[in-house]
């Protein structure tokens, strides 16, 4: 059974009299362990698709199953639980809590699943070690470099051992060298069996993935597998 199963998904925005079709009748399956890149011009619906897959948004029409659960019919609380349990997000703008240190930022998802304090701490430290930040746990975001911030965000996304890791232009705010570092990290996570979906504008970045889905005007323009990328 596939991890992600989208069937005839549409997402429309009503702007006054005008209806904007951000996604039109998209059907898509992603298997467990896949590494998928989503590409496409600006405004083609990449972020909209990611938000739907990540259960931050619900489709206007269509059916979405994640890990066997029918997400398209869930209420707000259930969606929050699914996000907490099944999904790890990495954003272009990092989205860390600026007043909290790296450790607390990584602990955040665990707080909302009710893990006890000591266990939470241990698991969060583990995740930070995995992204190579064991020596920066008490730094606040503004005391970290861009690449380090994004690593904290990756650690936060990983900490709940989600079945799916989503990254919307994770290297968009990083210089190419730091961006490459983050991509190496994703590569490693993919090798370890994590399912990854990432949005990017850059062909170089997309080359890391095994499958590239191209969107245009809310439709899937192409969907192709490729050999294992470089690195």
């Amino acid at each position: 059974m596939s991890l992600i199963h989208l069937r005839n998904i549409s997402r429309c925005y009503q702007m006054g009299a005008e209806t904007i079709h951000a996604l039109r009748d998209v059907s898509l399956e992603i298997q467990r362990g896949e590494y998928v890149a989503i590409m496409g011009p600006s405004g083609s619906g990449k972020s909209t698709l990611m938000n739907l897959i990540g259960c931050l948004d619900t489709p206007t029409a269509g059916h979405y199953e994640l890990n066997g659960a029918n997400v398209s019919e869930m209420d707000d609380n259930q969606l929050a639980e699914i996000r907490n349990r099944e999904i790890g997000f990495v954003f272009q703008t990092f989205n860390l809590l600026s007043r909290s240190n790296a450790l607390h930022n990584v602990e955040l998802p665990l707080i909302y699943n009710g893990m006890a304090m000591e266990q939470r701490r241990r698991v969060a430290l583990d995740a930070l070690a995995q992204v190579g930040l064991a020596d920066r746990v008490h730094h606040k975001p503004n005391e970290l470099s861009g690449g380090q911030r994004q690593r904290v965000a990756v650690a936060r996304a990983l900490v709940n051992k989600p079945s799916l890791l989503l990254a919307d232009e994770p290297t968009g705010n990083l210089d190419s060298r730091t961006g490459a570092e983050i991509m190496t990290l994703f590569e490693e996570l993919s090798r370890k069996g994590n399912t990854l979906v990432l949005v990017t504008h850059e062909e170089d970045i997309a080359k890391h993935a095994r499958r590239i889905i191209r969107l245009r005007d809310g439709l899937i323009a192409s969907d192709e597998k490729q050999a294992a990328g470089p690195g």
Partner: protein, 421 residues
């Protein structure tokens, strides 16, 4: 989900809410301080006034003659008067309470276990072989029943017997403090002393009551009422009658019986007001409470308005805070916070803000109110009930005025909030 996990959830959320609240408040120290100032002032004004009232009340209790719970007293003049003094002429015109009237009560009050008649006389000078006091020692004239009615017990020797009173003998009983100062070397019982130059024989010493801070509680000498009347005459304020009811159950009946006896003896027409004052410790405290009620209601009204204003201020700041932290809310929602988690966090923040103001207000209020205690030399008072109530009200203010901002925060769209600049 088992209950242990539920608790763990609850605790994790509570802890997170609380630390988030503190982080948020310390991030804007001045803003937080200004906001909680309103709560602080509201709570402070309640607590400072209530503390001061407690202190005053205690002071009144201390100054009252120490009547037991089953005892009431009858006098021409009120013991203490609160409020306006325009009634003095009415009291002045009343007939004095006399020994005969007291004896009538003694005879007829069947519900009383003890009836005492007493008078206070001018302060006098006491002289013994060893010492001489200042001429300020209180001289009390008492009958046998007074000892029981006043709850006096003898430490040494005996109280008066009926012969002492009937024959107006020159005997006396000493208050504990006085006994110690004029007979420093041994038992006073059986010794002679001079009151204003006249010889008396000491028959007993009272046990110390010494609870009061005033110190002169036990600085008096008691002689038989008849002796005092023969020697000094009836004073302008007349005598007092003390009545102790047999049991607490018949207390009210006893009061009515005595009232009836007095009215009959004085020939007060039915429907006319008593021409004497009948009071107990409780009724005096009640009177005091009635007098201060207006002040209390006033302060409650004023501080309610202050707290309401403070609440609006808190709501305003919380709305600003929600807007400022839109992105944070989005992040929390993205990693799995439910609406109620966000709601709880912001309500908690409002409550913490209020409680900080409340606690400071309570502490300052208690300190402020007790400055009065310090000046009046009575033990400090801590109005626990009002303090608890004050803090409770703070929490309620926090919840009420934090709910709308929290609701707004909880209902932000996660995607919009994540994009918010």
């Amino acid at each position: 989900m088992n209950s242990r996990r539920n608790w763990s959830f609850f605790f994790a959320e509570l802890h997170e809410s609380f630390s988030m609240a503190l982080t948020a408040l310390t991030a804007h120290k001045l803003r937080s301080a200004l906001t909680l100032l309103g709560v602080l002032i509201g709570v402070f004004s309640i607590i400072v006034v209530m503390t001061a009232m407690r202190v005053l009340e205690r002071n009144v209790e201390n100054n009252l003659s120490q009547l037991g719970s089953r005892t009431f007293a009858i006098q021409k003049w009120p013991e203490v008067q609160f409020g306006n003094n325009s009634d003095w002429e009415k009291y002045w015109r009343r007939k004095n309470i006399t020994l005969e009237l007291g004896e009538t009560v003694e005879k007829k009050a069947t519900l009383a276990s003890a009836v005492g008649i007493e008078g206070t006389f001018w302060g006098g000078q006491i002289q013994t072989r060893y010492a001489k006091t200042a001429p300020t020692v209180q001289l009390l004239g008492e009958t046998t029943g007074s000892f029981e009615a006043r709850n006096w017990t003898v430490e040494e020797g005996r109280i008066f017997n009926d012969n002492d009173v009937d024959d107006a003998r020159d005997v006396c009983v000493l208050g504990a403090a006085l006994a110690k100062s004029i007979f420093p070397f041994g038992s006073p019982v059986g010794n002679e002393l001079k009151i204003n130059g006249i010889n008396y024989n000491v028959v007993g010493v009272l046990a110390s009551k010494g609870a009061s801070l005033g110190g002169n509680q036990d600085n008096f000498v008691i002689v038989p009422l008849t002796t005092a009347l023969n020697r000094y005459g009836l004073r302008w304020n007349g005598l007092g009658i003390l009545v102790q009811a047999r049991t607490s159950a018949v207390y009210a009946d006893c009061e009515e019986q005595v009232r009836g006896i007095l009215r009959a003896a004085r020939k007060v027409r039915p429907g006319a007001a008593d021409d004497f004052e009948l009071f107990s410790n409780d009724s005096l405290i009640e009177q005091f409470d009635k007098f201060t009620r207006a002040v209390r209601i006033g302060v409650v009204v004023v501080s309610s308005i202050a707290l309401l204003a403070a609440g609006v201020g808190i709501m305003n700041i919380m709305l600003v805070s929600v807007t400022e932290r839109t992105r944070e809310i989005g992040v929390r929602r993205a990693v799995g916070a439910k609406r109620r988690n966000i709601m709880g966090q912001f309500i908690m923040e409002a409550v913490v803000l209020c409680e900080i103001g409340g606690v400071i207000g309570v502490v300052l209020g208690i300190l402020g109110g007790n400055i009065l205690a310090w000046f009046m030399k009575v033990p400090p008072a801590v109005p626990v009930d009002w303090s608890v109530l004050g803090l409770l009200i703070c929490s309620i203010v926090g919840v009420i005025f934090g709910t709308y901002p929290a609701y707004k925060a909880a209902n932000l769209d996660p995607i919009e909030s994540l994009r918010y600049e």
